[in-house]
C-alpha cells in the first residue's frame, strides 16, 4: 500500500516526540538553555503535523497506519479518525502554549531540574499523543502508563509536599491502570484480539457474556479514576495544586481529558452504542456526573488556595463532560446530539482551565501568592494577567459569548432533549456556584485595595505595573482571548462538522439507529 506523507504523520508525531525527549536529555548536558528550544520546536512540528492530520481526516478519511507493515489484528494499528485528530490538535495546542509559558517559569521555579523537566514533559506529550492516535487497546494502556509516569514525576518535581501528592496520585493512578489492564485481559481472554476495530467486530455476539460486561466495568472504573470523576477524584486536588503551574494546566486541561477520550474510545469503538443501550450504565454516569458537578463546585468554594480551588473546579468540569457523554446515547439532534457537547467542552475546558492555572502560576512566579486573600490590588499591578483571569473566569461562569456559555447551552439542550430536566437545574445551579467562587477572586483582585495602597485620587498615581515576562504573558493572553473567540466560533458552527463526523463514526446523534 502506498502511503501519502500525511499518512505517516500519526506515527511521526509520536516518534519525533520520543526522540526529542532523549535528545533533550543529551542536549541538557551541553547547554541547559537548548532544552526549551528543542521541546518548543518539537511540539510546534507535532502541532503542524496534527493540523495536517486533521485536515487529511476531514477531507480524505480515516487514516489507518500499520506499524511495521504488519496488518491488524496481528500488528499494532494506528487509527486516526475525526475524534482522534480533533483531540490531538487540542492536546498539542495546549502543550505548545504550556511549553512557551514554562520557559521563564521553570527557570525560576525549578532551576536545578530544567533538563529532567523538559525530558519528562516531552515524554508526557508523547504519551498523550500515543493514547490519542493508537487503535490498539493494549498500546493505549502502554501510552497511558507513559504519560501517567511522566505526570507522577513532574508533579513530584517540586519536592516536599508535592512528593506526597505525587505518591497519592501514583497509587490511585496505578490502581486505575490496573483496572484498565484487567479489562484488556478479560477481553483478550474472550476474543483473543487487542485491536479495537477487530474487537468491535468480534464482541457483538458476546455482549451477553458476563466477562465482556465485567471488562466494561473495569474500563469504566479504571478510567474514572484517571479522569478524576467524582467520587474518585481524591488524588486530583493535591496533585493539581502542588505541581508546577504549567503541569497543573496540562493535568487539568489535557491529561484528564485524554482519559475521558480513552473512555469514549473504549465505549464507542471497542464496545458500541448497542452495548451501552443494553445497560443503564450511562444513566448512572449521568447521575454521578451531576453529583460531581455540584459537590466539586461546593468544595471549590471552601478553598482559599487558588490552585486548589481550580482543582476542585476541574472535578466539577469533568462532571460537565461526563454528563454530556452520558447523555450522548439518548440525544438525536443534528446539533447538540451525540458526543458534540462533550467534545466541545473538552476543548473549552482545556482553554479555560489552562488559562486559569497559568494565571495562578503567574501570581506564584511574581510574588509567591497562593491564597486568594493575598490578591488585593493585583488588578492594578498585573493588569493583563488579571484581565486574562477575568475572561477565563467569566467563561467558567458561562457569560456569553464565551466558550463556557456555549458548552452550557449545548449541554442544557442535550438534557432537555433526553428529558432529564433535573440536570438542567444542576447546570444552572452549578454556574451560580461557579460565580460564587470565581467572583470572590475577581473581587479581591480588582476591588480590594492592597496594603499601603492609598485610594489614589488621580489617575497619575496609579501603582506601578509589574507584569510577568512576555513569554509567559503571551500564552496566558492567547488562551484568554481564545476563551472568547472560540465561543463565537462555536456559535458560528464552523467547527461543528468535525464533531458531526465523530457522531457519524459512532452512530450517535442524528446518525443513531432509532
Amino acid at each position: 500500500m502506498i502511503l501519502s506523507v500525511v499518512e505517516q504523520f500519526p506515527v511521526l508525531v509520536i516518534v519525533v516526540s520520543l526522540l526529542s525527549a532523549f535528545t533533550i536529555l543529551i542536549a541538557g548536558w551541553l547547554n541547559k538553555k537548548s532544552c526549551w528550544v528543542i521541546s518548543f520546536a518539537t511540539i510546534l512540528v507535532q502541532l503542524v503535523m496534527a493540523v495536517f492530520i486533521l485536515h487529511h481526516v476531514l477531507t480524505v478519511g480515516t487514516i489507518h497506519y500499520w506499524l511495521g507493515g504488519w496488518s491488524p489484528p496481528w500488528g499494532i494499528e494506528y487509527v486516526v479518525d475525526a475524534l482522534n485528530a480533533y483531540i490531538l490538535v487540542i492536546v498539542l495546542s495546549l502543550a505548545l502554549i504550556c511549553v512557551t509559558y514554562s520557559k521563564r517559569s521553570i527557570a525560576h521555579e525549578l532551576p536545578q531540574k530544567i533538563v529532567s523537566f523538559y525530558t519528562l514533559y516531552q515524554l508526557l506529550v508523547t504519551g498523550l499523543c500515543g493514547v490519542t492516535v493508537t487503535g490498539d487497546i493494549f498500546n493505549m494502556y502502554v501510552f497511558i502508563e507513559i504519560f501517567s509516569l511522566s505526570a507522577y514525576a513532574l508533579i513530584a518535581s517540586r519536592g516536599k509536599i508535592a512528593l506526597k501528592a505525587s505518591f497519592t496520585y501514583l497509587v490511585l493512578g496505578s490502581i486505575g491502570a490496573c483496572f484498565f489492564l484487567l479489562g484488556i485481559g478479560f477481553l483478550y481472554s474472550v476474543t483473543g484480539s487487542l485491536n479495537m476495530h477487530d474487537l468491535s467486530l468480534i464482541l457483538p455476539p458476546l455482549y451477553e457474556n458476563k466477562v465482556v460486561q465485567a471488562a466494561f466495568v473495569f474500563f469504566v472504573v479504571g478510567l474514572s479514576i484517571k479522569m478524576a470523576l467524582f467520587p474518585l477524584h481524591t488524588w486530583l486536588p493535591d496533585a493539581h495544586s502542588f505541581a508546577p503551574s504549567e503541569i497543573s494546566a496540562m493535568l487539568s486541561g489535557i491529561i484528564i481529558e485524554v482519559s475521558t477520550y480513552a473512555l469514549i474510545r473504549v465505549s464507542f469503538s471497542v464496545y458500541t452504542v448497542a452495548f451501552i443501550k443494553l445497560l443503564p450504565i450511562f444513566d448512572f454516569l449521568c447521575w454521578v456526573a451531576a453529583f460531581g458537578i455540584i459537590i466539586g463546585s461546593v468544595l471549590a468554594i471552601a478553598q482559599y488556595n487558588l490552585k486548589r480551588m481550580l482543582a476542585y473546579s476541574s472535578v466539577s468540569q469533568m462532571g460537565y463532560i461526563m454528563l454530556a457523554v452520558g447523555l450522548s446515547t439518548s440525544t438525536h439532534s443534528a446539533l447538540w446530539g451525540g458526543l458534540t457537547p462533550a467534545l466541545m467542552h473538552i476543548l473549552n475546558h482545556a482553554l479555560m482551565k489552562g488559562c486559569l492555572f497559568l494565571v495562578a502560576g503567574a501570581f506564584i512566579y511574581k510574588a509567591e501568592l497562593w491564597n486568594i486573600t493575598d490578591f488585593q490590588g493585583l488588578g492594578r499591578k498585573m493588569p493583563y494577567t488579571c484581565a486574562a483571569f477575568m475572561l477565563a473566569a467569566i467563561s467558567m461562569i458561562g457569560v456569553p459569548p464565551s466558550v463556557g456559555f456555549v458548552s452550557k447551552v449545548y449541554i442544557i439542550l442535550a438534557c432537555l432533549e433526553s428529558g432529564k430536566f433535573i440536570f438542567v437545574a444542576v447546570m444552572l445551579l452549578s454556574s451560580l456556584l461557579n460565580l460564587v467562587y470565581f467572583w470572590r477572586v475577581i473581587e479581591t483582585m480588582y476591588m480590594k485595595r492592597g496594603e499601603g495602597e492609598e485610594r489614589s485620587h488621580s489617575h497619575s498615581s496609579s501603582s506601578k505595573i509589574d507584569e510577568i515576562p512576555l513569554s509567559m504573558l503571551i500564552p496566558v493572553l492567547t488562551l484568554a482571548g481564545l476563551c472568547i473567540i472560540m465561543g463565537v466560533v462555536w456559535l458560528t458552527e464552523i467547527p461543528l462538522p468535525i464533531l458531526d463526523q465523530v457522531n457519524a463514526l459512532f452512530g450517535l446523534g442524528r446518525y443513531a439507529i432509532p
Partner: protein
C-alpha cells in the same frame, strides 16, 4: 447618511460605537480630556446612527431592519432586527448616554473619584449591552447582551470599593446572574418547544400548540424570574442596595439601561414571544397585573420610609417599572402603548431626579432628605428640575408622566372586565407618589434651614447643570409634543401590528 452607511449595517455600527469607544478610552487612560472626549464622541455617534434608523422603520410600516452576524443554531441567528419598539429603548439609552457622559465628567472630576478610566470603560460596555438588548432580533441575542450588561455594570456598582459597595456589588451580581440562569433556561426551553427564538409580532405562532398549558405557565414564570432586572417585588432588593454606586451610574443604569432592559424584556416576551392573545388565553395578563400592582403599592410604601434621597428614588423606580409591566399586563393596545411610551418618558424624568440628587451631593455632600432644608434657594435650577421630575412621577401635568398615566387609565378601560377596577390602584399609587415627592420639594423650597447658610446661589458645575436642564425640559416638551424623537410615532407603529383587544 444613506450613502454613508448602508442601512443593514446600521444596527451593528450602533452597537460597535461604544465598543470602539471603550478601546480608545483605555488607550488614552492617562489623559483625561482626550479620554472623555472619546466617550462623548462615541455617544453622539451612536445616537446619530440609532436615530437615523427611525425614518426607515417608520417608513417601512413595521418592517424591521435585519442584520445577521451568524447563525448559532438552526433558525437562531445571532443578529439584530430593529423594530419600532426596540428603537424606542435604543433612542432613550443612547440619547441619555450623551447627557450622562457630560454629567459624569462634571461629577467624577468634582468628587476626584478614583479609577475613572475603568469607570468610563465599563460605562461604554454597559451601553453596549443595553443598546444590544434593544436592537437584538431574538431571545438568544438578547440574552447575550443581557448578560454583558450585567457583568459590565458590576464594576460600576462596586466602584467605591468600600465594604458596603462590595457587598452591594455582590448582591447585584448574585441577583442578576441568577436571573440570567433562569433567563437562559427559559430561552432554551422556548427554543426546544418552538424551534425558534425570534421575536414575532403577535407571538411565536406554534408556541401554544407545542407546549401544554402548564408548561407555558412555568415557562412564563421562568421568564419573569429571568427578568429580575425589572426589580419586581419580592426580587427588588438589589436595586436600592446598588444605590451606593456613583450617581451617574444610578442615573443611567438604574433608571434607564439596566432596569429598563428587564422591563423591555418582559414587554418583548409578552408581545413578541407569547403574543397578546395567548397571554390572554392563559390568563397570565391578570397574574402579571396583580404582581405589578403589588409591587407598585409596596414599593411606594417603602419609598415613604426612606430618608436617603437616592434610596427613595430607587423605590420610586421600582414602582414606575412595575407601572410599565402593569401597562403591558393590561393586554390592550392603549395599555401597551402607555407601557412602551413610559420607557423613554420615565427614563427622562427619573434621570433628571437622579442627576439632581447627584448635583446636591457634589455641591453640599447631603444625601438625606432631612438635611436638605432650604436647598432650593441655594440651587434653584437643580431644584426646579427636580420639581419637574417629581411632578412627572406623580403623573401631574405639565409633564410626560401625565400622558402615560392617561394611557394606562384608558388601557384599563379598554381591557374591561376585572381590569376596569385597576385605575383605583393607579390612583392610590399616584397619591402615595405625591406623599413622598412633595415633602422633598416642600423641604427644599419652604423649610427653613437650621444653619443660616444664607441663600447664596451655589450651583453644580455646568457640565452637570446643562444635562439636568435638558432632561427636565424634554420631560416637559413630551407633555406638549409626545412625538419628540418620533417616540409616539414609533409607539403607534409598534402597537398597530400587535393587535388584540380583549374585552
Amino acid at each position: 447618511m444613506e450613502q454613508l452607511i448602508p442601512i443593514p449595517y446600521r444596527p451593528l455600527l450602533a452597537i460597535l460605537c461604544p465598543a470602539i469607544g471603550s478601546i480608545f478610552i483605555v488607550l488614552f487612560g492617562k489623559r483625561p480630556n482626550i479620554r472623555e472626549s472619546w466617550t462623548m464622541l462615541a455617544s453622539i455617534a451612536q445616537f446619530l446612527i440609532v436615530f437615523s434608523m427611525v425614518p426607515i422603520v417608520i417608513g417601512g410600516n413595521g418592517e424591521p431592519i435585519k442584520y445577521t452576524l451568524f447563525t448559532a443554531f438552526p433558525s437562531v441567528d445571532f443578529g439584530f432586527s430593529v423594530d419600532a419598539f426596540g428603537l424606542i429603548f435604543a433612542i432613550t439609552s443612547s440619547f441619555l448616554w450623551i447627557l450622562v457622559s457630560s454629567y459624569s465628567i462634571g461629577y467624577m472630576r468634582s468628587l476626584h473619584e478614583h479609577a475613572q478610566t475603568r469607570y468610563y470603560f465599563c460605562f461604554c460596555w454597559a451601553i453596549f449591552g443595553a443598546v444590544g438588548v434593544a436592537l437584538s432580533g431574538n431571545l438568544f441575542t438578547m440574552f447575550v447582551f443581557y448578560e454583558i450588561l450585567t457583568v459590565s455594570t458590576y464594576p460600576l456598582v462596586a466602584h467605591d470599593q468600600t465594604p458596603e459597595a462590595l457587598f452591594a456589588g455582590r448582591k447585584y451580581l448574585a441577583y442578576l446572574l441568577t436571573a440570567g440562569g433562569f433567563f437562559l433556561a427559559a430561552v432554551v426551553i422556548t427554543y426546544y418547544f418552538t424551534g425558534t427564538t425570534d421575536f414575532v409580532t403577535g407571538g411565536i405562532p406554534n408556541l401554544a400548540s407545542e407546549a401544554s398549558r402548564t408548561a407555558l405557565m412555568a415557562l412564563f414564570a421562568l421568564f419573569l424570574l429571568g427578568f429580575m432586572k425589572a426589580a419586581w417585588m419580592p426580587f427588588h432588593s438589589w436595586l436600592p442596595t446598588a444605590m451606593v454606586a456613583p450617581t451617574p451610574v444610578s442615573a443611567l443604569l438604574h433608571a434607564v439601561a439596566v432596569v429598563k432592559a428587564g422591563v423591555f424584556g418582559i414587554v418583548r416576551v409578552v408581545c413578541y414571544i407569547y403574543g397578546v392573545d395567548l397571554m390572554h388565553g392563559l390568563g397570565l395578563g391578570l397574574v402579571l397585573a396583580c404582581l405589578a400592582t403589588f409591587t407598585i403599592i409596596v414599593a411606594n410604601l417603602f419609598a415613604l420610609a426612606q430618608d436617603n434621597l437616592k434610596r427613595r428614588l430607587a423605590y420610586s423606580t421600582i414602582n414606575q417599572l412595575s407601572l410599565i409591566i402593569f401597562g403591558v399586563a393590561l393586554l390592550s393596545p392603549e395599555g401597551i402603548e402607555g407601557a412602551m411610551m413610559h420607557i423613554p418618558f420615565h427614563g427622562f424624568m427619573k434621570i433628571t431626579l437622579f442627576m439632581c440628587a447627584g448635583a446636591i451631593i457634589v455641591v453640599s455632600g447631603k444625601k438625606n432628605i432631612s438635611e436638605m432644608a432650604g436647598i432650593g434657594k441655594e440651587m434653584p435650577v437643580t431644584m426646579i428640575a427636580f420639581t419637574i421630575g417629581a411632578l412627572g412621577m406623580c403623573a401631574l401635568p405639565p409633564t410626560a408622566g401625565y400622558i402615560t398615566h392617561h394611557f394606562f387609565v384608558h388601557g384599563c378601560e379598554e381591557a374591561g372586565g376585572t381590569m376596569s377596577f385597576f385605575p383605583y390602584v393607579l390612583l392610590i399609587a399616584a397619591i402615595l407618589d405625591v406623599m413622598y415627592f412633595f415633602p422633598i420639594i416642600y423641604t427644599a423650597f419652604f423649610a427653613k434651614s437650621e444653619g443660616s447658610s444664607g441663600s447664596k446661589i451655589n450651583e453644580a458645575p455646568l457640565f452637570m447643570l446643562v444635562p439636568i436642564a435638558i432632561t427636565a425640559t424634554v420631560s416637559i416638551i413630551f407633555f406638549f409634543y409626545p412625538d419628540l424623537f418620533h417616540i409616539s410615532e414609533l409607539v403607534e407603529t409598534a402597537v398597530s401590528s400587535l393587535g388584540g383587544v380583549h374585552p
